[in-house]
Point group: C2
Chain length 221, copies 2
């Protein structure tokens, strides 16, 4: 997991390089905590950025293709994509406007995504995707049938060329600004689940499963 | 605000068209509630997707360019971008894996972004950006000086070609699956601020301002 990784010219972080992290384990921790990515691809020189769900299985990302029908025309040869996952951790309030910032962790993966054609790999990828979003749910759901598998597009992107970037901690002001009288610090932000809402069509005696009641997006560290 | 809007071939939603919203006011509500966008652009046929802050002023989006140094080489002619804002509202648990979904609201804006050169517009754009993220903060901070303004890249993108997409409500299962015995419903998700954390260099007697204490990402509706 933690082999040395050399960024390419395309993934070397040029701005605020002190925030760059090229360690695969750190990147995977971000990928495993998030579950929505933004997929970028190009059609007729126009970039498109579409949010969609994803999962990770080993050194591959599996992207749910439902949101990406515009990509379909090139799928058989594979398509150049950028997959970005961003976790927002807080607003950073400095004394000067210029030094305001955000605490975040993000990973950018570049490469060629191809459609998963093999039905066993597709099933395994969908399981990874589902377990990634909500561990425990797959087993308790009605499994996909052949028609549904065919109707679902899953793309595989090897995690080969990537970079991660993160900022943590308090604001950093210019020395001469520390005497400026204003509050400074961090407003933490977190994606928090609310109380589960029963489907109105559900028998209200159905218990809420443990994986729903105890759901949290923060991966145990 | 609510003039009829005709999507172009590039912004007409082709998948799940029932989730499409072409009303400008609805798109603006999403843009105003979010404050992180994912900017897509193309360099040497490779798409890049970078998270960054943004603000809206009238029918323009202003994007903070700090994260987008790779875009710089083409800035004077403008650069084709896609700006996507996604608000995640919940996990939707259906009885079948296939009908699992998410509740979300997203807006995609396509167009040509240009660097803001005029220093008055740049200042106004930075103010819009700051007030968009944390209303009230701008006035209480040390204002940008000329050197800082020059060092800050702000891009303007007219909100001309766009689409919005949203899903709300309970899961929708196939009729024959409603008898499948599993919990079904929605796990709401919300970005929630935690208790503000003082900068360790702050005089601890400094009061936490109201706009920090009462901070919430949900725009009053």
């Amino acid at each position: 997991m933690a082999e040395p990784y050399s960024p390419t010219a395309r993934t070397r972080v040029t701005r605020e390089p002190e925030r760059a992290v090229y360690d695969r384990a750190a990147a995977y921790q971000v990928l495993d905590e998030g579950f929505i990515c933004h997929v970028g691809f190009v059609v007729d020189n126009q970039p498109f950025v579409i949010p969609t769900g994803y999962g990770r299985s080993g050194d591959n990302l599996y992207i749910h293709g439902s949101a990406a029908s515009r990509m379909l025309r090139n799928l058989d040869q594979g398509i150049a994509v950028c997959v970005t996952v961003t976790l927002l951790d807080g607003l950073v309030l400095a004394r000067s406007i210029f030094n305001h910032s955000m605490n975040y962790r993000s990973v950018v993966v570049l490469g060629t995504a191809v459609a998963v054609e093999d039905s066993a790999e597709k099933l395994q990828a969908l399981r990874a995707l589902s377990e990634h979003i909500l561990p425990g749910r797959w087993e308790e759901s009605r499994q996909p049938n052949e028609r549904e598998l065919k109707a679902t597009l899953v793309m595989r992107l090897p995690i080969t060329e990537y970079s991660a970037k993160m900022r943590t901690g308090p604001p950093i002001d210019n020395e001469e600004d520390y005497s400026f009288l204003t509050w400074a610090g961090v407003v933490p932000l977190q994606m928090v689940p609310g109380s589960p809402i029963n489907d109105p069509k559900l028998d209200p005696k159905t218990p809420v499963p443990c994986y729903v009641r105890s759901y949290s997006r923060t991966v145990a560290k």
